[in-house]
Symmetry: C2
Subunit: 204 residues, 2 copies
């Protein structure tokens, strides 16, 4: 929340304005719900700024993110029709696998995930979007499919004003170190502990 | 995330289907960003289900939630025009104050907040919405403006299938106890610690 007063003022040679407009790398990690959900909530603010939004979804199942995808695509349509907000592009990388259930061979999925990351690198180099959601992107890094050092270097050297939000458990220490903002979602109480099943409109 | 297998099956006499469709009280608390953002991300899923969404915003400043409000209102307009998704109502309670900066007298703000809560009670009784965001609603409870026991009893006895998400720091223990799902957002790293200023498109 905008409290206005930073706890320290760095000796980085930047003006307040430059510091205000610095593009961020954000990581949402931890064991609990809300990591991706908060990333898509951030996308609403980006949309309202008219920023081009690119979502790269690194897990896929029939239900996964269908609500967020439909709503954000609808906002992209609003932009296309009325000029309000910004355009939205939604990409599914490595179709058919998820961190809970992998189908097909690991080799295929690794290649899909790596191709997804190569696309992101191309988009970052071209400044295609202003706001990126790399949803569940920690997993292909955790599994060794995508090289963490390559991700960190690419993010560090990206041009222009591109905000990047990465979600998922087990964020690599080098990624956490490189990020500007890291939020950990921790569990206080979860309804599945009390036998609640996942449900429509809440989990997807 | 929908893992499918609850860790325990409760002896509550409910079928799996009944348990799947149980309306939830969700609390997003903790010191870190993402509490409200994740609630608005959840609203995208609710919208995609066609559920009527009611947002009750218990803090207000010129910038506050303007991105989320504009985007969710745009989704409400999509519903009105095409029938896709659900309708969205956005209510601002206790205008002119926030947890960082109160203007006017506490007496006025307490009355505004209490009237806001009375409106929510009427809407819950009438089943006006299927998905509620009570944004920053922990603060009027924390300040004694709204009675926590009344909130807990009202939520416990609410009719039908109404999901309620409450955000804010310092959630009352009785509210945490009454909630089905409680997520705590904790800080790992925050750019304001390094002198970063709040910025357009990220904080609002």
């Amino acid at each position: 929340m905008p409290q206005g007063t930073p706890s320290t003022v760095p000796d980085d040679g930047l003006t307040t304005r430059q510091r205000r407009n610095r593009a961020l790398v954000v990581v949402h990690t931890g064991e609990m719900k809300g990591k991706s959900t908060a990333a898509f909530g951030m996308a609403l603010r980006a949309w309202n700024q008219g920023w081009p939004i690119g979502v790269f979804q690194f897990v896929k199942s029939a239900k996964w993110r269908v609500g967020e995808e439909t709503a954000l695509r609808a906002l992209g349509d609003v932009h296309a029709q009325s000029g309000a907000g910004g355009p939205v592009s939604w990409h599914k990388m490595g179709a058919g696998w998820s961190w809970t259930r992998r189908q097909g061979t690991d080799t295929d999925h690794a290649a899909d995930a790596l191709e997804g990351w190569q696309q992101i690198k191309r988009d970052l180099a071209a400044e295609t979007y202003r706001f990126y959601v790399l949803d569940e992107f920690t997993y292909p890094m955790d599994w060794g499919w995508v090289d963490v050092d390559d991700v960190v270097a690419t993010l560090r050297d990206r041009p222009g004003q591109q905000h990047v939000v990465i979600t998922g458990r087990r964020a690599a220490p080098a990624l956490v170190e490189a990020a500007d903002l890291v939020v950990q979602m921790t569990k206080v109480k979860h309804p599945m502990d009390a036998g609640q099943k996942g449900q429509r409109g809440i989990e997807w």
